[in-house]
């Protein structure tokens, strides 16, 4: 992937992010934050692809632990919160 392709994806994704997220009501801002924590746990993908040397694998392992913590903890706690929002 060339730098230009990567930059294009980056910039367009930011615009999509702004468009979608400005429509999230203040009521849901806390679940939005914990949910986006879970999504930023996507570094898990990078962590799995790491490795190479022994030391690299150690770094990869630690990154996997931290990223999974975010993914699992983030989605679960967001679900727990959202389940509390009820209609009358």
């Amino acid at each position: 992937m060339t730098l230009i392709t990567a930059l294009t994806i980056f910039v367009l994704a930011i615009f999509i992010g702004f468009e979608v997220i400005t429509k999230v009501p203040p009521t849901l801002h806390t679940p939005l934050m914990s949910g986006s924590n879970a999504i930023s746990g996507i570094t898990l993908v990078g962590a799995i692809l790491a490795g190479g040397s022994t030391f690299g694998s150690i770094l990869g392992f630690l990154a996997i632990v931290f990223a999974t913590f975010n993914v699992v903890g983030g989605f679960l706690v967001t679900h727990r919160m959202l389940a509390m929002f009820k209609k009358k």
Binding site: G35, S36, A38, I42, V45, G52, T68, N70, M81, K87
Partner: protein, 493 residues
């Protein structure tokens, strides 16, 4: 492709029971080794779409649960297709995932809703450090032939810098929010800002030097960024934490996007920038709600106590005390009541008794609504979650812009544990520390009831003329106790 994906999924489940080589073989049989890379890319694209749809679901409480699930499915898919590629050996990956999942599950289950800001700060920290580690592993590997070495080196530097600042800064923020004694007081020294500026410049220099791919710059860069994160966050006071964790949320996303540039991975770039945008929007909303610029929140020194009229001058002889019994009579026969909760309500764990009060009033045909100021809690949207936990239906939670024009049609506004966000001085005195801050116009209501321990000032440290207003009644006492007495007085009456 769909059939192939299904077949791969089945194979993966088989593998969980069997071992590594079997999966390798099975996957190769299905798509061929060259096809695996392509399958992964398509999987990433679907995952990215699911993330966007997931966040889109967050635009309404009705669709939010499904949105969150879509995001989780996207993540599962992204991880699944990644497992088909070479990288860290599978047993290591799986044990890492098990350890991380166990930790995440326990915390997500046990955390109290009042502790959500600390938890999000901790998540920000972990996201930051994960990016630092991923970029570090890539630096160790050296650039692969198909990636641009200059871009990879530079991006690794950025990921290290932002990720490490996010990690240490978020840990300090989590400590402050948890009210650990070590972080009780904002800490600063003369020349702190110069020190930070120097650290940042040296850090950026190291980032630029990373383009030679020698890699030695990475370790000192991370150490320096860790120090910078601590120094940037320590001077910031507790009241400004909503801004800080929103900003660090954004950084953790940007660090993930930078890690995506390092390994040329689309899904990291897309997911990271979505989170980066989300954090930035929340940061700007929080700053607007306090009428302060971001640089003012981050760099302003804690000034001496505000000048202006002394508390005695404002309050002398004008404070009208009331009692639960009197209030019960006042609330008899009203049509519309607006409850204004502040963080003091959550601290007193009085959300549930507020809900009881609302139930009683509603049974009498009274319309009850809640006016939520953006900075009512310790993070964006915090107060809404705390009230939702107490079974307050979300239709009754009104944001400031929506409810402010309606206070004049409100019979009674009940302010519980809030102070600065209802201080009319923000509109009337341009020299006050909260001048221009948008407030809830409770004084427009026919009667205002303030439930509060004493006349002590809020975070801004200034007296509140609302308490001395003609239409304001003060009920002094602990929020929970006062409300319990009020509820039983209404039941008796």
């Amino acid at each position: 492709m769909n059939k192939n994906q299904l077949a791969v999924l089945e194979n993966f489940i088989l593998f969980a029971k069997a071992n590594t080589t079997e999966l390798e073989k099975a996957a190769t049989e299905v798509v061929g080794s060259a096809g695996r890379e392509q399958l992964a890319q398509i999987g990433y694209l679907v995952a990215a779409v699911l993330f966007i749809l997931g966040i889109k679901g967050m635009t309404h409480p009705r669709t939010a649960v499904r949105g969150n699930l879509l995001g989780a499915v996207g993540m599962f898919l992204a991880v699944l297709v990644t497992l088909l590629q070479q990288g860290v050996s599978l047993p290591v990956v799986l044990s890492g995932i098990i350890v991380g999942s166990a930790g995440g599950m326990v915390l997500a289950k046990r955390v109290q809703m009042t502790q959500m800001p600390q938890l999000v700060a901790l998540f920000n920290a972990f996201g930051g450090i994960a990016s630092v580690l991923v970029a570090g592993a890539e630096v160790l590997k050296g650039p692969s032939p198909e990636t641009d070495g200059v871009v990879a080196g530079f991006a690794a530097g950025i990921a290290g810098l932002i990720g490490a600042v996010t990690f240490s800064g978020s840990m300090v923020a989590a400590g402050k929010l948890q009210e650990l004694p070590q972080f009780k007081k904002p800490w600063s020294f003369d020349g702190l800002q110069i020190t930070n500026l120097v650290l940042l410049c040296v850090g950026l220099l190291l980032v630029f030097m990373m383009v030679d791919n020698s890699g030695w710059e990475y370790f000192p860069l991370v150490l320096l960024a860790l120090l910078l994160g601590v120094l940037l966050t320590l001077p910031i006071g507790g009241a400004d934490m909503p801004v800080v964790i929103a900003l660090l949320n954004s950084y953790s996303g940007l660090a993930a996007a930078a890690a995506g540039f390092v390994i040329s991975n689309n899904v990291l770039i897309i997911a990271g920038s979505l989170v980066g945008a989300s954090g930035l929007i929340l940061t700007s909303i929080m700053c607007k709600a306090m009428n302060r610029s971001l640089s003012n929140v981050l760099f302003a020194k804690m000034g001496p106590a505000a000048e202006g009229p002394a508390a005695d001058e404002v309050y002398e002889g004008k404070i009208k005390r009331t009692s639960p019994e009197e209030l019960a009579m006042l609330l008899d026969g009203v049509q519309r009541v607006v409850i204004v909760p502040g963080y003091g309500l959550a601290v007193a764990q009085a959300q549930h008794i507020v809900r009881d009060l609302a139930n009683l009033l509603e049974a009498d045909g009274v319309t009850v609504e809640y006016a939520i100021h953006p900075v009512a809690g310790r993070m964006p949207g915090h107060m809404n979650v705390l009230l939702a936990e107490a079974d307050v239906p979300y239709e009754q939670l009104k944001e400031m812009d929506e409810i402010n024009p309606t206070f004049s049609q409100c019979d009674v506004a009940i302010v519980i544990g809030a102070n600065d966000v209802v201080n009319p001085v923000a509109n009337t005195d341009p020299t006050s520390p909260i001048a221009g801050m948008p407030i809830l116009d409770v004084s427009e209501a026919r009667t205002v009831i303030v439930i509060k321990r004493s006349l002590s000032p809020g975070f801004a440290g200034i007296p509140n003329p609302l308490f001395a207003a003609d239409n304001c009644l003060m009920l002094f006492g602990d929020g929970k106790k006062a409300l319990t007495e009020l509820v039983s007085a209404i039941k008796e009456g």
